[in-house]
Amino acid sequence: MNILVCISRVPDTTSKIDFIEDDTEFSIRDVQFVINPNDEFGLTRAIWFKEKQGAQVHVVHVGTTKSDATLRKCLAIGADKAFRIDAPALDGLAVAKELAAFVKNNSYDLIIAGRESIDYNGAMVPGMMAALLDIPFVTNCVGLEIDGTTAIAEREIDGGREKLKGTLPIIIGSQKGLVEESDLRIPNMRGIMQARQKPFEVVPAQEAPASTKDIKFERPAPKAEVKLVPADDLDQLIDLLHKEANVL
């Protein structure tokens, strides 16, 4: 089985979000970039398939040389080969077009992306890829079994789960629950050494145009002080929620 895991690179969840150039640009000062957490769950599941059912695991990223360390980390965790499509990630549709073209030129049975990138929360790249390639797609995926050419994917829905069946190739949007957090791989010394020998290919881009453009950022309005209510006067809390906040 050939598995492709799509990796996006995002600011660590604790990063301070700041803007420069008159708020037109995200400031990367002091920001540590990591593998998008949703992709990490997907990559771990891919390596599980490799170990349990036999598979080749490739990782792909659309981006510039700035992302090379992130891709190396994926190799250290256990991916067999990394590809970087050499183009800045302009927007979801452009990235999806680059990835779809890449998939067309190669052959994958299973494509794993994250449910969403935690920076811009687009949740769009994998679905767009699926429509461009005309193959099935299941997002919010919390369970995935492959048997021959059949995939059974479980999707988290509001208040429950839905089980869907499709024929490979299929794309899934992974998230926590696909594997447990305690099963996530941390690269060890051996993995890091091996990663240096693993193939890392830079692929020329299609240069798909952007369909959207971010022009300006804004910080949320500063928050008013919390109103504290004494623990022995909960009637006051109910009164505030009822009359002031209007939510009861």
Binding site: P11, T14, F19, K163, S211, D214, P220, L228
Partner: protein, 318 residues
């Protein structure tokens, strides 16, 4: 040019979020000085969209009766192409976020989810949306001929504006899926995180799953959904689908009550867009107090049962 509003349904009825999406779509069409139509699948009460200013609904009565992203996207894309649609409006629910990317690729449309206001510029169309999981806003231009706006949950609100609404029955020949539904499990008779007006959430401060009756009793009085912090679901005290935050479900409700939750940045990011936040925590230094509107410093084991009793009395008075 025209606006197409995509509303969601379940069990042959419109979902609650249809009202907000319809309100936004109607307001957008007015701003663009163009017509608007809604498209609905298997919703016997589709005429109710008339309460929110929708005059025309295309009702698809064939194809899968449960939400099926592939089949629905094919049907909507065909309808949009045939009807000269330039702007599509969807919600930002989990289902909408499954459907919209498929549609966007089919229509070669720019797509922006989590939009919080009507466009501030019409040419090029510029919308304000949340980014960095509610830690910032960004203004985004849509550069394509056809584009899709995902209205943030509970961000725009509902505008009552009753008009006559005509429902056209249509058949979508291509409402075909490439996936087969094997099974679906869904809690019934209980509010769910995405759909509830109020969410009551518990953290590690509750000490163990055996104490969750505190959360459930309070939720019951408020007709609220229950949720939890990440460690709580990691430890198996509660099921995964209750985990909220940056890496869990987003919460964007009217009232969010956090009990025994410290307010770590990853937790807050996912719940911050809720309108009113209440925190109950024994530690006055807990970061959640900086993000909340109302707070009680106290022991959850004492405060919560009392609050539940008092709310019961309050509700009984009507």
């Amino acid at each position: 040019m025209s606006v197409l509003i995509i509303v969601e349904s379940e069990n042959n009825a419109l979902k609650r979020n249809a009202a907000e999406v319809a309100s936004y779509g109607v307001a957008l069409a007015a701003k663009l000085e163009t017509s608007c139509t809604a498209i609905a699948f298997h919703a016997a009460n589709a005429t109710e969209l008339g309460h929110y200013g929708v005059t025309k609904v295309a009702h698809v009565s064939n194809g899968p009766t449960h939400f099926d992203a592939h089949a629905y996207a094919s049907a909507i894309a065909a309808f949009a192409a045939a009807n000269n649609v330039s702007h599509l409006v969807v919600s930002s629910s989990a289902d909408a976020r499954f459907l919209a990317p498929l549609l966007a690729a089919k229509l070669n449309a720019g797509y922006v989810p989590n939009v919080v206001e009507l466009p501030e510029e019409m040419s090029p169309l510029t919308v304000k949306r949340t980014a960095f999981t509610n830690k910032a806003f960004v203004y985004t231009q849509l550069l394509t001929a056809c584009n899709i706006i995902g209205v943030g949950n509970n961000a725009f609100g509902v505008i009552d504006n009753t008009v006559d609404c005509v429902v056209d029955e249509i058949t979508a020949e291509n409402a075909i899926s490439n996936l087969e539904q094997v099974s679906i499990e869904k809690v019934t008779g209980k509010a769910t995180i995405a759909d509830a007006d109020v969410v009551v959430s518990g953290g590690r401060g509750l000490k163990g799953p055996e104490n969750w009756h505190l959360i459930e009793d309070l939720a019951e009085v408020l007709d609220a959904a229950t949720a939890c912090s990440k460690p709580v679901s990691d430890m198996g005290w509660r099921s995964h689908d209750e985990h909220v935050g940056q890496t869990g479900k987003p919460v964007s409700t009217n009232l969010y009550i956090a009990i025994g939750i410290s307010g770590a940045i990853q937790h807050l990011a996912g719940v911050n867009s809720s309108k009113v936040k209440v925190v109950i925590n024994s530690d006055p230094e807990a970061p959640f107090f900086k993000a909340a509107d109302y707070g009680v410093i106290g022991d959850a084991f004492e405060v919560v049962p009392k609050l539940t009793e008092k709310l019961k009395a309050f509700k009984a008075l009507g």
